[in-house]
Symmetry: C2
Amino acid sequence: MRPGPSQDEIRRQNLGALLRHVHVHGATSRAELTTALGLNRSTIGALTADLVSAGLVSEGAPKETGRAGRPSLVVRPESTRIYAYAYSIEVDRLRAARVGLGGAVLDRREMARPRGLTATEAAPLLAGAAKEMQQAVPAGAVCVGTGVAVCGMVRRDDGLVRLGPTTGWVDEPIGPALGAELGLDAPITVGNVADVAAFAEHARGVAAGCDNVVYLYGDVGVGAGIIAGGRRLTGHGGYGGEVGHMKVVRDGQPCECGARGCWETEIGEHGLLRNAGRCDARGRDALLAVFDAANRGDARANAAVRQAGDWLGFGVANLVNIFNPEMVIFGGTMRDLYLAAAAQIRSRLNANALPACLEHVRLRTPKLGDDAALIGAAELAFERLLADPLDVG
Amino acid sequence: MRPGPSQDEIRRQNLGALLRHVHVHGATSRAELTTALGLNRSTIGALTADLVSAGLVSEGAPKETGRAGRPSLVVRPESTRIYAYAYSIEVDRLRAARVGLGGAVLDRREMARPRGLTATEAAPLLAGAAKEMQQAVPAGAVCVGTGVAVCGMVRRDDGLVRLGPTTGWVDEPIGPALGAELGLDAPITVGNVADVAAFAEHARGVAAGCDNVVYLYGDVGVGAGIIAGGRRLTGHGGYGGEVGHMKVVRDGQPCECGARGCWETEIGEHGLLRNAGRCDARGRDALLAVFDAANRGDARANAAVRQAGDWLGFGVANLVNIFNPEMVIFGGTMRDLYLAAAAQIRSRLNANALPACLEHVRLRTPKLGDDAALIGAAELAFERLLADPLDVG
């Protein structure tokens, strides 16, 4: 346990707590802040005044309530003035967004990503999108950070992409490459796509208020963002959550990681297309075509989807026994598979998970949809501001 | 993020931090405490005085250093005055200990546990051991709590043992049963044996200073205590870490949990004895006999040990990919298996774990040995004192 903080640390912590509250919950009255933060009215007033001076929040009258009496002033995040850039590097596309304090996507760009594109090649494309968006930024607005979501294993200390089996990346320094293109000295925070999507869903999505969450994200491969005891599980180097490389079949199908029988060889893109007899196809559209065909009664597609669903339930049962989560979220292609094969998944889960671990688990799809990666990347960028609001801006 | 604490909360937090430091590290000079806790000398002096008044620590001259100058006073935990009772309910035995602040086992009792013994039957045996030990307690000594380690899934909120497949327990209220026997009103904290052993090794054992740890504990079954980001992973209900019920073989051997192909059916007691052709044997002695036979060149025993070692490596590789730990500890029968089949384990780990997840993993045996469960149970009991030292005693 750390010793208690100094007076100055307490003030910064309180400022961060207040700013985080309106960042996550939006406009909040002073009265509600008093209750939510457990601080008295004069402290809330002083903290708000500091944040107003720093241009991070504004105060104003609430919307008409129709009730009598003097209404409590409402504190709002300066959503158009304070923003972050968020990038998402996916198997088939690159995305860039400008996200305001409070989590709204203010502007966005998207482009196809040819498979095989390196970090050095991706950086100018992303930087170009940011420069385009920059032209529409109102005068006086302040960028407080940059976050990047990547399909791959990201080293926590410096954001190096150690391995992206699905992107072909090995030791790609996307942060520095992007910083050089953008002409930025400020740190660029890089995270694994499943981790940042879990972060976003936990902060302001379907898992808000849940302390123990497994967010499964699938594209070609499968990874998980884990929330344990209310905090992101990163592991020692930042590589935790590589559940797609949990072996489920001894001497099974070869995986792009070099081993055999990884879970993602059965539930990822390749496995599903292989079992549906479409070995030459690839990409999300090809996957969606299999789900469509299964829906329309194509026997082989249907069998492939059921088999993949059974394997999805098999692995989720293992994760339920290991993490005892209250929620499992199915994102990316795992969402499509979950919706197409819910019966197989539940049946396997009931057969394989321990009853005590299973009794409070809810299975859910993301609330933020595909935006989770962008919003999560922006959350990474906002973290520094929220930790110490007066030190940034 | 929570808002900052009040002055009183800060003082309690500082008292807890100081007491925890000497509890974990033993006698510490005021000068070292100043550095370790980042507090100034007068604050350390005032906090120490409070803890001395409460009878929790003592101050005195250090041992002779041979160096000139006035030595800094040394703060010591009151290890013989402040103690907790710790119990460990295992497959084959019951243990009870009196553990002093600072973590030393002051007294202990052990008895065989007939398999099948219920909580109601175990409670008087454990209480009897405590009453025996109580007679040797010096006048003025204070018991600050009671902790219990159990082979089984323990509900976090109330310590109910939901399921102990290896003890046959279902919904056994060991805490209340023991409290009634002991005539105690004070809360009795119950935890899973792997969780509390991990806690002990993390606090004062081989994993001290490690933030990401997997502690595997084996007896008939196999469970894990997980430390993630420096904190114990409990899961939503307290059932996290049930890695023994990770399925590794589809439609594999039947498990006592009702499913098939659980990891523990391959690496636990039953699997090893089955493969060694000793289906009628059971218990740790029978297991040790297999390891002995393998050492002496018995081909069947050797093959069984190698096979179990390979499966142990298979599952550990999955956990390494999922948790990215810096240390994996092998406790209970997993220690014996690890020592007997280290080559198979490392080979499988190298083949199956992702290189980035593997690069900083150290494989270790427990430093606290079999005492980890008792010391960890005592740590559970000390938690309340360390969280708020002046509120207990």
